[in-house]
Symmetry: D2
Subunit: 204 residues, 4 copies
Amino acid sequence: MFPSDQPQANYDDPFHGMKPKIGVMGSCSEPISKQARAAARSLGEAIARNDCVLITGASPGLPYDSVLGAKSLGGLTVGISPGLSLAEHVGKYASPCQGFDVIVYTGSGLMGREVENIRSSDMVVIIGGRSGTLGEFAIAYDEGKLIGVLRGTGGIADQVELLSRICEKETGGHIIYGTDPAALLSDLLKYYRTVHCANPSCFS
Amino acid sequence: MFPSDQPQANYDDPFHGMKPKIGVMGSCSEPISKQARAAARSLGEAIARNDCVLITGASPGLPYDSVLGAKSLGGLTVGISPGLSLAEHVGKYASPCQGFDVIVYTGSGLMGREVENIRSSDMVVIIGGRSGTLGEFAIAYDEGKLIGVLRGTGGIADQVELLSRICEKETGGHIIYGTDPAALLSDLLKYYRTVHCANPSCFS
Amino acid sequence: MFPSDQPQANYDDPFHGMKPKIGVMGSCSEPISKQARAAARSLGEAIARNDCVLITGASPGLPYDSVLGAKSLGGLTVGISPGLSLAEHVGKYASPCQGFDVIVYTGSGLMGREVENIRSSDMVVIIGGRSGTLGEFAIAYDEGKLIGVLRGTGGIADQVELLSRICEKETGGHIIYGTDPAALLSDLLKYYRTVHCANPSCFS
Amino acid sequence: MFPSDQPQANYDDPFHGMKPKIGVMGSCSEPISKQARAAARSLGEAIARNDCVLITGASPGLPYDSVLGAKSLGGLTVGISPGLSLAEHVGKYASPCQGFDVIVYTGSGLMGREVENIRSSDMVVIIGGRSGTLGEFAIAYDEGKLIGVLRGTGGIADQVELLSRICEKETGGHIIYGTDPAALLSDLLKYYRTVHCANPSCFS
């Protein structure tokens, strides 16, 4: 518990005694390039290696490649499901459950659960992606989150510079670009610890 | 109540005995052009004149100009608030309450409430807009809604053609462009009645 | 809009320029007594006659009897649906849509939507009811709402005195009992205007 | 991933390759008896010892005693927060963050987050409790969950037999009573594995 009733920017302990939470977003269905899949898996491995927690929308596709990568190294993985139950998760949304330490059932559908996913992540990383990922980028940017973008993975990831210009708005959101998953994660963690932890979102 | 337990595409009664619900989305804070404000107000008036219900995120700015326009002609207006209560709506989110027949308190914040707003609208119209509106477009498009865009109002509205190309995905979402608010609403209602009512969203 | 950024208890205008919102809760499925159905319908009529807005969980049963009562006198009716869409509302939840001016789709299921229903109502009235209504009473009481109870309608309504003793907690919630729907509504409106508007819920 | 698109009751693997998730609910504020606190802590220890995941509403009080118990033995702990962010969690809701492996931010307030908490738990255990816990029992019972009750811990826990009679409804919910935390958990796990996994909730 905090001694005072408001968490202060704490550069000695920017994660307040908890592990960093990394959200991973990207294409959930084909077509997905082999390169993007490999990047997603490497990112999951880097998340586990850095003792971070991986959060995804519990979907198949690129976010699940990250889950499998993190799990292969014993990382902790959380899925925020669009469904109201495991039965809906698997049946209605055709989504996987193996490899998740926890699945939280929101019932709020494809995009609704992403809002919760993004808020529960200290920072989010975008790989590839189409319309759903466009929404995730916009939500994260509008709510002032720290965002990592894996360049060269196609789709939305390769349009983020354009998109951030289109937004024409200072939201507190900050974007870091990279091509190597492990190096990007390292850059994100460093920026969060030294700068972004002072204002992690519009709700801080 | 429906005679069978699944609503069927019903071209004779595409709104199932209810009034059409029109969601209006766009910039909530300055800078907003006079032209965009006039368009938003005209759209609100057209919504009331066509006996439709106006739904917004209960924010200030362009959506509120539509509320004032609809209300000036006795239209029915609904706000889906980011706050948990009127006190949060007015205090935490600096949002108006006068002019709304109903405000629904979601507590789900700026982007969370937009998901519900979009789902509760039969179709949505985008005017101007920045990062929040980008998210709203992406949510509506990803969930297969009918979307109207008021060209010439700046911001996101004037980037939707580009954005829909970037999405690279068939979602069932359909976009209709226009410059005159009343004519755009008329086109949207016609398309919904003749085509889109068969598959109003990804949850139908 | 309010001149200051916090809504103040305003005994001259306790509803802040809006119509009072009355939530109605109770049994959604058989067995339901004829007496309870008549009371629910009378309550809906009284809500319309007093120019209030009726909010329900958009279910069948007693709350829908209130909707039909309110609608017979031209009242405004709002349903907060457990489903993500009209198709889910009608198909998955076997719920009616005719008679509602607006249905808001939450996707949050049977109990999730009740939380939003309660927060969006200035006061709630309980008629009959079983386990779902027990939850609704507990949510409303725990969040400090004004609650009306129609005695003699069976089920939860006739156990509220016992239940409030079991809760053993001062929450700001206040309960008013009555047997005549119109008189109960009148008592609730008077208490809200003179006392409860100062602290309408735990989120004010 | 499942081979077919509906999860089947699988008596060989009732948790579908995941660890059992146990929700713990009870009083969040004083007065709380020493006995109830000790029971909550023991329950947390038993959850960790049985390699289950503990889920709470991330509140202080009895659920947090379970978190500390589980954590003392290296168990995995998840909090579903009423707030939109860590800042709201700690500031607005005066809730702890240390000891949680993951905190999910719902923004849906005191009772809203409990709905998600309950859905994400395979079974829930009630200790002591007042109006909030009454709501949690009602939600869990109404949605057909498996419920454990720690007798002798006061408050709602000692009224559950009465409450389940008042509900007068077959929901699929099943209640198991006990006085020893470890034995109760063992009974719950056995019943889930042999019976309840076939119909874990109303959404299965």
